[in-house]
């Protein structure tokens, strides 16, 4: 059935800035997310320089005053989670891959798709504008706890605080619009023959992430409206003097905040699953088990949130309950990792750059997961809360999620997106230059954190019992390692830009994969498929004995 949509060739504006084509929208999200990633990385550079070389002028920034420090750490966290991890993992990969991998021509609602990016862009611009207002960007931490966040006299960034809140709210709207579109498209628009368990795992994960996001963000939207009123309309929702309760915000925030980390984890695991199957030439081990496990992670993620509040004054009996649920959730995640390892076992492993990043994800994320156990036990958390141990833990989860798996995905799908291969040698240099320094940033921070270094303190000079010069070499090591890691990112940027024009031309299926996106030209034309495909089997049919090829594409009839 021919589906070539008849369009007049659009002008530059319509093609790149007003498009409803899911692939263009994916690129918009990808490039915006990557640009925000550069800003988030710069902010990390600034505060790590302050921590590694305290109270000296930072090249490219200046002196880091206490207020500026607070703003820099707040914006680093906010940007990395809301404007880098989510847009790249969910919106960019989701937009690009979903119609291609399920065998249709676009999202079910292309104009809603376009609107979601426009709202997202607005949220990013609103957030960046807060750097320029009086008082500067919000300095109340990405968790925005009142009374600090509700009261301009406390946070000293009253305009920034409200702009931050509005930017986050708009970002939520963008992802609600986008996520619901993704979900409807995958539910309804699959190729004939693609049953539920023939859907590639990454697609399932993006949909599950969208659903978990949608179900968890509602109470925070309510809470954000209340915080906005506290900031601007003299209400006292979170003010004990006015009958309110700061703990309420914490609950509403983390009721979303904890599922949110799985919202970003699941697509990352999906990307890694695709890459592992292709470069082990092996069927994903226990597809249904991994899928059910992932669903259970999604559900369980809703009952662990107060482990972020163990020392906030919640009732200790609730702390008991949340400690148990938190420890329990490590089980399904571990199971998923075991199944990935089982997929690799006996496979014909090919260590492309994408595969290296995918394997690194598994190894590094395990460290993050295991250190989470310490924090999930409420007794130990009394000591470790608000120390650098927490920071090291969540960077051992977030960096694999937002950076390592993203690089894996980019190296893997770059040929499909742009019709060119990236340079493998540069890719490997980038890989080692990212992963090795990454460990040298955060292992020292586990150590300083366990020794009691408190987070969100711009300088220990004023706090004698914190200063502990004997630990400074660890802090400095972390900073220097970050500088090394940042330097190696230029290798990636160069490789990316150079390969766009000069990379070896990629065919439709350079990795010899089974899924549908590899059956169309690289890059895919408008409308994706000249003939919409029919699907005959699951997405990971590798290594069938007796077949000429070691892979059996989904759309091949025999």
């Amino acid at each position: 059935m021919s589906t070539q949509v008849q369009h007049a060739e659009p002008g530059v504006f319509k093609k790149y800035f007003w498009s409803t084509d899911h692939k263009i929208i994916a690129m918009q999200y990808l490039f915006t997310g990557m640009a925000m990633g550069l800003i988030g990385g710069y902010l990390a550079y600034v505060f790590r320089m302050q921590l590694g070389f305290p109270n000296q002028s930072v090249p490219g920034f200046g002196i880091v005053t206490p207020g500026k420090y607070n703003a820099v750490v707040t914006m680093h966290g906010s940007i990395m989670i809301f404007w880098v991890a989510m847009p790249v993992l969910i919106a960019a990969f989701g937009n690009f891959l979903i119609p291609l991998m399920i065998g249709c021509d676009d999202m079910a609602f292309p104009r809603i798709n376009r609107l979601s990016y426009q709202v997202f862009l607005l949220s990013a611009l609103l957030l960046l504008s807060s750097f320029l207002v009086k008082g500067g960007a919000f300095g109340g931490a990405w968790t925005s706890y009142p009374p600090l966040s509700a009261n301009g006299a406390y946070n000293l960034t009253p305009i920034g605080a409200t702009l931050w809140l509005l930017a986050v709210a708009l970002e939520f709207v963008a992802f609600l619009l986008g996520g619901i579109n993704f979900t409807v498209t995958v539910m309804n628009s699959r190729a004939p023959g693609m049953k539920m368990f023939d859907i590639p795992f990454v697609i399932w994960m993006i949909v599950l992430a969208s659903v978990v996001f949608m179900a968890s963000v509602g109470p925070l939207i309510a809470g954000a409206v209340m915080l906005l009123f506290d900031q601007t309309m003299s209400t006292g929702f979170y003010d004990p003097n006015r009958g309110g309760d700061p703990l309420l915000w914490q609950h509403l925030f983390w009721f979303f905040g904890h599922p949110e980390v799985y919202v970003v984890l699941l697509p990352a695991m999906g990307i890694v699953a695709e890459i592992i199957a292709v470069f082990a030439r092996k069927k994903l081990f226990g597809y249904k088990t991994i899928l059910y496990t992932a669903w259970s992670v999604g559900v369980l993620s809703f009952v662990v949130w107060a482990h972020h509040q163990f020392v906030a004054g919640i009732d200790p009996r609730m702390a008991n309950i949340f400690s148990i649920t938190t420890l329990l959730i490590s089980i399904p995640i571990a199971e998923m990792v075991f199944l990935y390892i089982a997929t690799l076992y006996g496979g014909s492993i090919r260590l492309t750059t994408a595969m290296l990043f995918a394997l690194a994800f598994v190894a590094e994320f395990m460290i993050g997961g295991v250190t989470g156990i310490f924090l999930g036990a409420s007794g130990v958390d009394i000591y470790l809360h608000d120390t650098y141990f927490v920071i090291a833990h969540f960077h051992y989860t977030f960096v694999p999620i937002a950076i390592i798996s993203v690089f894996a995905g980019i190296y893997f799908w770059f040929p499909k997106m742009f019709g060119r291969m990236m340079n493998e040698t540069l890719g490997k240099i980038h890989f080692w230059g990212t992963v090795i320094p990454f460990n040298f940033i955060f292992i020292p921070l586990f150590m300083t954190g366990a020794a009691g270094d408190q987070r969100r303190v711009y300088s220990y000079a004023q706090f004698a019992e914190q200063a502990r010069p004997a630990l400074q070499h660890l802090r400095t090591t972390a900073t220097v390692s970050l500088l090394v890691m940042l330097a190696f990112q230029f290798v990636f940027i160069f490789n990316f830009i150079w390969s766009l024009r000069n990379g070896k031309r990629a065919g439709a299926n350079p990795w010899r994969s089974t899924t549908l996106e590899w059956t169309v030209p690289s890059p895919p034309p408008h409308g994706n498929f000249a003939e919409l495909p029919t699907v005959y089997r699951g997405p990971y049919e590798y290594g069938w004995p007796g077949r000429a090829d070691d892979y059996w594409p989904q759309d091949v009839p025999d």
Binding site: P219, L248, F302, V303, I314, D315
Partner: protein, 126 residues
């Protein structure tokens, strides 16, 4: 098993259309019951009139106007799951926010607010 559903077919939802005006009349009657019952002064009657009636009205709208009972099962299950998450939210937050004291803690500001407020006698409702 994809079915190509064209726009023309999609306009027909193939639901049985009951007598909507009759349903509306029942809803309005229930509204009257809830207002009258809430003025009765008896606590149990007020609660049933207010919330019991609300639940019935909501169900009537969902069943007869939204046709949720003839929709694919997935949809009411989805809504029930969302409501279940709201119950979990309540269960996890109420011990800290609704209650004003617990194991080795006490919310004195809130207790004070309740005490002062209860001392002023509530006026009759208009």
């Amino acid at each position: 098993m994809t079915t190509e559903v064209h726009n023309e077919v999609q306009t027909e939802s193939h639901v049985h259309h009951p007598n909507y005006v009759k349903i509306w009349a029942i809803l309005v009657a229930l509204l009257v019951v809830s207002v009258v019952g809430s003025m009765s002064g008896v606590r149990v009657v007020i609660l049933i009139a207010a919330f019991g009636v609300a639940l019935v009205k909501a169900f009537l709208v969902a069943k007869n106007f939204m046709h949720i009972t003839v929709e694919k099962r997935f949809i009411p299950y989805l809504f029930l799951i969302c409501l279940a998450f709201m119950v979990i939210l309540f269960a996890g937050v109420a011990p800290d926010v609704m209650k004003h004291e617990g194991l080795r803690w006490s919310n004195d500001a809130a207790k004070h607010a309740v005490q002062t407020g209860m001392q002023a006698a509530p006026p009759k409702h208009e």
